[in-house]
Structure formats: C-alpha cells, structure tokens
C-alpha cells in the first residue's frame, strides 16, 4: 500500500516547511547549535570534539537535506546525524586509548556556574549546579547506549519510537536501556534524596 507521501513529488506542508528550514543553513545553525552542542558534549565529554561534531552535523544535514523524508522533526533528524558522528568518534577513540579528553561535561558546568542566571538566588544557583554536577557524573559512568537513550529522552524530549529509529534498535531495547539508566541515576542520587529528607 502506498501512502500519499510515497508518491513521487508529493510533499506535505510540514515537510515543505522542514525542507525550507534545512535550506537556510545559517538559520538552522542559529536555532539548533546550542541544543546539539549540549547533547554531543554530554556524549563525548570533550568540548573541542563536540564543537567539531556539531559543525559536521550541520554540514551533513545540509548536503543530505533532499533525503529528509519528514517522518520526524528536524531536531530529531539532526540529533540522529549527530549520534552517528558520535558513534564514529567512539569507534576511532577505541584506537586512541592513550588520548584523554581535554574537558568533561562536569568541567563545563564549572564554567557554566559563573554564567548569570536570571531570577535565581546565589544559593539556588549553587544547589542547581551541585545537582547538575552529580547527574552529569552519573551519566559519565553509564554505558554509551544507556547514556544516549537517557539524554535523548530527558534532554532532547524525543519519543521512544524516535529514539529507536535514531539508534537503530527495537523500542523494547530502548526501554531496557532507559530504565537501567534511570535506575543507575536513581541509585547514585539517593544521597541527594536522603540529604533533602534529613534537611526537612
């Protein structure tokens, strides 16, 4: 059975809008660069590599924009491309075991803690920074698949089906990775929970 979208030349209004969005490379970069950089930074833990991967992601998306079928959002599509590049980097990293990352996501938060945050008190900022630091440390200890699924779900707000497509694995496997990651984060953050309850 053929859907309308499968008929040659037919493009839904949403798809046309997405293709127009992909054509404007500068607008695309301006809109998504921060979110992509955050995702890649948490995945590879190296600022320089993350920036390079984000640039390559946009370049790849722009050159392959005609192949965008419109069955997911532009953000999810970009995230999938970035994920593939991260995977390639991980594969190369296996052969460069002597190399250590220049900077980690946790170090990035050290820098971010000095950034102005509107409307929150210094105490709240310190508390937020401490929580973020703890979660990012837990994420560093997760396996690649668990971390990626966790980030895609809770950071990029992607649906399980979208994550499954991006990671090329069944939804049931995605769920398994996700729940194991949540379990690990839950276990490691038990300290915060106990601290909070004892404060009360």
């Amino acid at each position: 059975m053929h859907t309308l979208a499968a008929v040659e030349g037919f493009q839904s209004p949403g798809q046309e809008q997405a293709i127009a969005e992909l054509d404007d490379i500068d607008g695309l970069v301006r809109t998504y660069r921060a979110r992509l950089l955050r995702f890649v930074m948490f995945s590879v833990g190296d600022e320089d590599v993350a920036a390079s991967i984000v640039q390559d992601t946009f370049l790849k998306a722009w050159t392959a924009r005609k192949s965008f079928r419109g069955d997911c959002t532009v953000k999810s599509w970009l995230t999938s491309i970035a994920l593939n590049l991260v995977r390639d980097h991980q594969r190369i990293r296996k052969f460069q075991f002597w190399k250590k990352a220049e900077n980690t996501a946790v170090d990035a938060f050290e820098a971010a803690s000095f950034l102005p945050s509107n409307g929150s008190s210094p105490e709240n900022q310190v508390l937020a920074w401490e929580r973020a630091r703890q979660v990012s440390r837990v994420l560093e200890d997760l396996s690649f698949n668990q971390r990626t699924v966790f980030l895609m779900r809770f950071q990029e707000d992607m649906e399980l089906s979208e994550i499954a497509t991006a990671m090329k694995m069944p939804v049931s496997t995605v769920k398994t990775h996700l729940y194991r990651a949540v379990g690990a984060v839950r276990e490691k953050l038990g300290g915060i929970h106990e601290q909070r309850t004892s404060d009360k």
Partner: protein, 160 residues
Amino acid sequence: MSNGHLTNEQLSDLLTCTNSASRDHLKVCSQCRGEVECLSESLGAVNHLGLLWAEHEARRRVPLPLPAMERWRTRTLWAVPATLAVVWVVILIVNQTHRRSEIPQADVTPSPAYTVADDNLLMANIDRALNAEIAPQVPVSELRRPSESAHGYPAPRMVN
C-alpha cells in the same frame, strides 16, 4: 511497584509526564514524591545549565558562517573546475578515437582492363626509347685480351 514504591519504569514515565496512574501513588507516598521531585529538579538543572553553557560556547565554537561549510565550499570550488577539466579531456579522447575509426579505408578495386593495356604499351615504348639512346656495348671477349691495348698495338713490356 516494587516494595510498594515506584519502579524505574514508572518513575521514568512520571518524569516525562506520560503516566498518570502512578500520580495517585505520589499522593500517598512521600518517599517516592520526594524522589520524583529530586530527580525532576536535578534533570532540570542539568538541562538548564547544560543549555546555558552550550549557548555561551556555541557562539564561539560553532560560528556563523560555519567553518566546515566554508571548507566544503572551497573544496567544491576546486572540484568543479577539476571535474570539468577531466570531463573535457575524456570528451577529447573519445572524440579522437571516434575520428580515427571514421577515416575511410583505401579502395583496392582492380583497374579496368583497358588501363592495364595502356600502361603496358606505355612501358614498352619507354623501354624502346631507352635502348635506342644507349650505344652498343663492347663485347666481353674484347675485354679479355690484356696483351693488347685498346688501339690494337701490343702493350710495352716492363723491364726491371
């Protein structure tokens, strides 16, 4: 629910606001409520601070226009003339080969009979004219008498 508390699956669904059934449990279980709040706040902090950092860094590290894009454009600028040159050379070679194969072969058709007879007659006439021009040669027997000179007198003897 395990041991009367939320499982990882239920907690995960609550964090993404997809499960309303587990919300009833939060009303009666302060431990799970505290855990969900804590996780939710922690994730919110990670996302917020991560985005703050990324927005700050992206302006510096992923500038506009993209350096990768510029590199690609430069490569493309080189690639287009190079490709055109290669295509031009290929066309030239193909054209040359095609031309060579199109050169007509020489016709080796036999001459008509009258042409051959005329040619033979012409050659015979040339032979005759040449023979008439050349003087009669000295017979070989005359050349074999060394004691006589050409004018008939005996040749002088050499005395030591």
